[in-house]
């Protein structure tokens, strides 16, 4: 055994609190170590060359690098040793930065800890076996979860790149939040006018299959070969017949159905097409409000439908899609206003949310673009905008900034002035966050050209007084209490993870942070990947984002999927379970505990029954190894003997 060890200074990150020279020196005393040195930046190109050179010069057959976390650079160095002709698994990393130099204060203790960490790695590397990956076919189809702007962008890019793409959208139409916006900052483009064409492209692209009003039921498989069960929820309208003529909606007597698209600004019909530009433009029945379902008699829509598309008996349907990669663009939600009682949103009709205001401003909205108070449909003259309604507020469990509220408030203030020239807008804010291109100029215009009055401070309470809403808050710049008699109050309610985000994450085996947003595999360097191979993130599902950020992340995720599926075969990770058929007694306990059904029974020629691992299905968790009583099934690279070598290196000194 000829082990070479390289101790990294990482500039001062490690060398600052660890005596790297001593670590290298102590390491030389370990039997089997023939070369040990310290280096300024081992991950740098000269650093890697030094490793390759040493492998040749010293005839090393095992390499240990003591540096940062293997989660950071293990792959880098595996490639390095491979380039020098070693098997990539004849390599171990000792984490002496994140786990030592950055967290320990006493240099001597750190140094000692580093020495032992390296000793452990050396003992492990001497137990390592050469592993070789095998390759398997990939399914060149992509699943996009969510038909918002991020999801559509990802789908269009994948499809344009030649990949069959499936979109699964929870609501009856694609478009997501952007479809509900009136204008977009900072250019004041008509939102649906720029989104509409994309929606049409999605509908018309021959490589895109759209499952609207559908949800993910279950996901099995692994990168390159996922099996996805999609639940197509019953619409009670046969979409293959529905032409979207709208007759049914006209005649429907169920006039007070909740309008999800307009966030309940005004009621809609029990059978409805969510909005004029909907894709697909199909009607669906909301049984919660439909007389046929509530009273068992009505059937008006069935009578008037020219294509006899109505089917009250319709059931949910499960379809299975096989894909090789998945883009998760499931979007975001908004804070439950009950958490903000002091504002009275939901209690007082004239206290509304930003997104509701978008619908009121919108020409094709319930008010046809005329600004009016929900309570008495009069035109408001004094409008107060409250930013950070829940955002950056630990007391409601939302420590983070919702990212785009400052901008849309400025936009809404501008639009308000356009609609009602004699109106006055007030904006309560904590800070104005407008870092994007042309953003800060935009918020200034709102103040300077459109006369919106910005008050720096929090609103403490909102309550009605006659027809008015009293907004009481602090002006922290003037250091005084302010009270404004408003006709309409708009709350920039906080962005949250979309409802059901956690359940979806569990189906995908990806992780989510304490706020419910999905976790990327590296915040800086792998922002659209997840820790599950073949699953990528796009849009606000990963964290609050505005349109351009969502669109670019959609394209980025698509690029990842495209590069993954550009190959016909994928390399399987050889660090999977393997069975020693001599030792296996065929008790099949491993079969019972494998989370992936990756182990099956096999009868050898000798007639002996043993366990057999299905290589492509095994994900390498090692549950089987911990289950097997006779140590016959061993997770490669984390075998009993390899872990025992580490334990013994620690606890027998």
């Amino acid at each position: 055994m000829r082990v070479g060890v390289f101790i990294c200074h990482c500039g001062n990150n490690i060398a600052g609190t660890v005596d790297v020279a001593r670590v290298a020196e102590e390491t030389r005393k370990i039997p089997g170590v023939v070369y040990s040195t310290d280096y300024m930046y081992t991950c740098s190109e000269p650093g890697q060359d030094e490793i390759k050179e040493a492998i040749r010069r010293e005839g090393l057959n095992r390499v240990v690098v003591a540096a940062c976390s293997p989660r950071m650079h293990e792959l880098t160095f595996r490639r390095t040793v491979e380039k020098a002709g070693l098997n990539r698994y004849f390599f171990e990393m000792a984490n002496i930065r994140e786990h030592v130099s950055w967290v320990g204060e006493n240099k001597e203790a750190n140094t000692n800890k580093a020495i032992e960490a390296v000793r452990m790695a050396v003992m492990k590397v001497m137990q390592d076996k050469a592993l070789y990956s095998s390759s398997f076919k990939v399914n060149k189809r992509v699943l996009v979860i969510g038909g918002g702007v991020a999801g559509m962008q990802a789908a269009l890019d994948c499809a344009d790149g030649g990949l069959e793409t499936v979109i699964v959208e929870k609501s009856p139409s694609v478009g997501g939040m952007m479809a509900r916006l009136d204008k977009t900052f900072p250019t004041i483009d008509c939102s649906i006018c720029i989104l509409g064409p994309k929606m049409v492209d999605v509908a018309q692209h021959e490589l895109i299959t759209l499952h609207a009003y559908s949800e993910i039921e279950d996901i099995k498989g692994y990168v390159g070969n996922f099996q996805v069960k999609v639940r197509k929820k019953a619409t009670y309208v046969d979409w293959s017949k529905c032409t979207g003529c709208g007759e049914c909606m006209e005649k429907c007597p169920g006039k007070n159905a909740y309008d999800h698209f307009n966030f309940g600004v005004a009621p809609t019909r029990a059978i409805n097409i969510p909005f004029p530009q909907a894709i697909p433009k199909k009607a669906k029945i909301d049984p919660k409000f439909c007389r046929q379902f509530l009273k068992g008699k009505c059937g008006v829509c069935a009578k008037v439908c020219p294509t006899k598309a109505i089917n009250y008996e319709m059931q949910d349907e499960i379809v299975t899609e096989e894909v090789g990669a998945i883009v998760v663009a499931s979007g975001y939600g908004l804070i439950d206003q009950d958490l903000l009682p002091e504002y009275g949103g939901g209690r007082y009709p004239d206290v509304i949310t930003g997104i509701q205001y978008e619908r009121i401003l919108n020409a094709s909205g319930p008010t046809s673009g005329h600004i009016e108070r929900p309570s008495d449909h009069t035109e408001p003259k004094t409008i107060v905008f409250v930013s950070c309604a829940g955002s950056r507020d630990k007391s409601v469990g939302i420590p983070y900034c919702s990212n785009f509220c400052c901008m849309y408030i400025a936009k809404q203030a501008i639009l308000t002035k356009d609609h009602v020239p004699d109106s006055q807008s007030y904006v309560f804010y904590m800070d104005i966050r407008s870092p994007g291109k042309g953003y800060d100029e935009f918020t200034r215009r709102a103040q300077e050209e459109y006369g919106a009055r910005y008050v720096r401070g929090r609103v403490s309470r909102i309550f009605p007084k006659g027809k008015k809403m009293i907004v009481r808050g602090a002006d922290t710049l003037l250091g005084t209490q302010v009270e404004i008699e408003a006709d309409l109050v708009v709350l920039a309610t906080a962005v949250t993870a979309s409802p059901g985000a956690a359940q979806l994450a569990e189906k995908l085996h990806i992780s989510y942070d304490t706020n419910g947003f999905y976790v990327e595999s590296h915040p800086k360097l792998r922002p659209v990947e997840t820790n599950t191979a073949g699953v990528y993130l796009a849009g606000a599902a990963q964290g609050p984002k505005d349109i351009p950020a969502s669109v670019s992340q959609g394209s980025a995720a698509a690029a990842k999927a495209l590069s993954l599926l550009s190959k016909d075969m994928l390399e399987s990770d050889p660090a999977i379970a393997r069975v020693n058929t001599n030792a296996c007694v065929g008790c099949m306990k491993c079969v019972k505990t494998c989370p992936f059904q990756a182990i099956k029974e096999e009868v050898l020629r000798s007639g002996k029954t043993v366990a057999q691992v299905i290589e492509t299905v095994c994900a390498g968790c090692g549950v089987c190894t911990a289950t097997c009583p006779c140590g016959a099934i061993q997770l490669q690279h984390f075998t009993d003997n390899q872990l025992l070598a580490e334990v013994n290196a620690l606890c027998q000194m």
Partner: protein, 317 residues
């Protein structure tokens, strides 16, 4: 326990099986022994009395693909149920002769009661054992020389059988008492418990009689106590290695041990090995409401899970 009816039952199934595993007379009057019957002539050698202490089910997994008849008491039948839970035997290859049992004799305890003299004759009158040694005849209450498992036996009638020799018996034992011995030891201090096991397990010679007698030690020839890959244990005969071996045995039996007592019975050093497994069983019962070897459809608790574990709470520091 009716020997004649047993012989009939065995004779009946004998033609259809590779062998019937029953009981014969052991090397002396105080011992029974397993007896593999393959020919009618061997029927005469069969015995059926409280000397039938062994758990004959132990032989079944190694005969998974051979059609086998086996004589089981209530306690032994739990082993078969456990086998079926784990798929270690094929039901269709088993012909189970069940024997209701009111308690057996622990050869070890009998030897003690007879001061380890050579035993010339043993008779049974109801609940009394009558033994003759060179020192004369001695009458002993069966309860005084029966294994601990009998004292808390809850299943005197086999839970699974094809033929039942004798009438079913109801248990009159208190279920709560099953783990009294474990509770007693847990009542002692940590140091006392440590000392207790150091003394008991210190006697271990690593002869592996406990392991080989254990019906649920599936590994047998592949036991990790002896292998180098994986290399869990050295061959040193010091206490920590002995401890480690019995730790392995206990952990591997977690939620599987049917408390048949074979490990203790087989141990030439009289180490109370059953206690180790019983302690874990006690916890399995508390945590997962699971008792091994009762319901064929059950799943051993460590080979399954619940997303919400009612009894497991986060441990605070």
């Amino acid at each position: 326990m009716n020997r004649e009816r047993l012989k009939e039952a065995v004779a009946e199934i004998l033609p259809g099986v590779d062998a019937v595993i029953a009981y014969g007379q052991g090397f002396d009057a105080a011992h029974g022994e397993p007896c593999f019957v393959t020919k009618k002539e061997e029927l005469e050698g069969l015995i059926l009395n409280p000397l039938c202490e062994h758990n004959l089910a132990s032989y079944l997994p190694s005969r998974k693909n051979k059609k086998t008849g086996v004589v089981v008491k209530g306690c032994d039948s739990r082993t078969i149920v456990q086998f079926l839970q784990e798929g270690l035997v094929k039901r269709e290859n088993l012909v189970i002769i069940g024997v209701p049992c009111t308690g057996v004799v622990s050869a070890k305890k009998l030897a003690r009661a007879l001061d380890h003299q050579t035993v010339e004759e043993v008779r049974f009158e109801g609940e009394t054992v009558i033994a003759r040694t060179p020192r004369g005849e001695k009458r002993i209450a069966l309860a005084d020389v029966s294994p601990d498992k009998c004292r808390t036996c809850r299943y005197p009638t086999p839970l699974i059988y094809d033929v039942l020799v004798g009438e079913p018996i109801e248990s009159d034992k208190d279920p709560a008492a099953v783990y009294d011995d474990v509770r007693e030891l847990m009542g002692k201090s940590l140091e006392e418990r440590k000392a207790y096991w150091e003394k008991e397990i210190g006697r271990c010679t690593r002869c592996y009689a406990c392991r080989n007698a254990c019906p649920l030690c599936v590994c047998q020839d592949s036991c990790i106590a002896e292998t180098r890959d994986p290399h869990w244990q050295s061959q040193r005969s010091n206490l920590s290695e002995k401890m480690m071996f019995h730790f392995i045995h206990a952990i591997h039996l977690a939620g599987r041990c049917t408390e048949c007592g074979e490990c203790e019975r087989a141990c030439p050093m009289d180490i109370p090995l059953g206690k180790l497994k019983k302690k874990i069983n006690m916890d399995m019962l508390d945590l997962f409401d699971y008792v091994p070897g009762i319901v064929c459809e059950d799943k051993p608790p460590l080979y399954t899970f619940k997303v919400e574990e009612k009894k497991i709470e986060e441990h605070e520091l």
